[in-house]
Symmetry: C2
Subunit: 165 residues, 2 copies
């Protein structure tokens, strides 16, 4: 593995490590626990899992890797706030979707080389990409990794006895 | 800029972008606001700023870039929980330290090439590094970036009218 490949592998690993934290968290407690708000007046944990799954699913199209696996999640978990819809998919269903979409992404990422990570993502025009070549697939990966960490910080608050730091 | 340099630059930019979110957040409200807990029973915002500053300061030694600028922060913000000490540095003082340490790190990062990012960090032995060459400086940068995002997610909860997502 040359330096370039190693750097990309580490960035992909950082993304995978954040996903693993989320998976571990949602496998740790009874399903009912996740129906609570992470803090008073904030999103329920189940909503955040739906949100993270919808964001991951969206990466498939954003990175030009294929169609979304769960396009129906977009309306509820990306376009609307928690409790906008009366019904929420069950935790078990969301956990399976979360695993599946990350498995699919992982499969694609294993095939991608550094040059491909530097290609434009699907929502920037060729013209805009010339002006700002950092609007590429690597940038999507980096920002999605931090986004997952952001919500992991919030999910931690769900459990009363765990410290925040 | 070759592909390798661009990749490193984007990872450094992702780190800088998270820092900027923290800076923006702490410049947005009255100083007194940050004396509140981000959620009931959780860390005060001022503690999280001290914590993030101490973590950033620690990167100087972890990355072999020099001595810490604010070694006294370690005891209060890395080794002990919020309110363990009766006194906390003022928000203005912490904000200045936060800016200074990040400016110092930014200065160093601008001089580092890809090969240097793949060097071992200062807290892994040469032997362990042979076994796992990902225990390098790049890994520190990636994990600190997500760590900042994690606490940014929590800080968002401080402000009642802002939505969590």
């Amino acid at each position: 593995m040359n330096a370039q490949q190693q750097i990309i592998a580490q960035v992909v690993n950082a993304w995978a490590a954040q996903n693993k934290r989320i998976s571990t968290f949602f496998n740790k407690y009874d399903d009912d626990t996740y129906l609570n708000e992470v803090a008073p007046g904030r999103n329920r944990a189940v909503y955040l899992l739906g949100h993270l799954t919808a964001i991951a699913d969206d990466m498939l199209s954003l990175l030009g890797l294929g169609d979304k696996l769960y396009p129906h999640l977009e309306e509820q978990f990306l376009r609307n706030p928690d409790r906008f819809f009366e019904e929420t998919p069950g935790i078990e269903v969301l956990k399976e979707s979360w695993q599946n979409v990350n498995a699919k992404l992982t499969e694609h990422f294993a095939q991608m080389n550094a040059g491909q990570w530097l290609e434009k993502h699907s929502r920037v025009t060729a013209e805009d990409f010339i002006t700002d070549p950092t609007r590429n697939k690597l940038n999507v990966l980096l920002s999605r990794t931090t986004h997952t960490g952001y919500h992991m910080g919030q999910l931690t608050f769900l459990i009363q006895k765990e410290l925040a730091v």
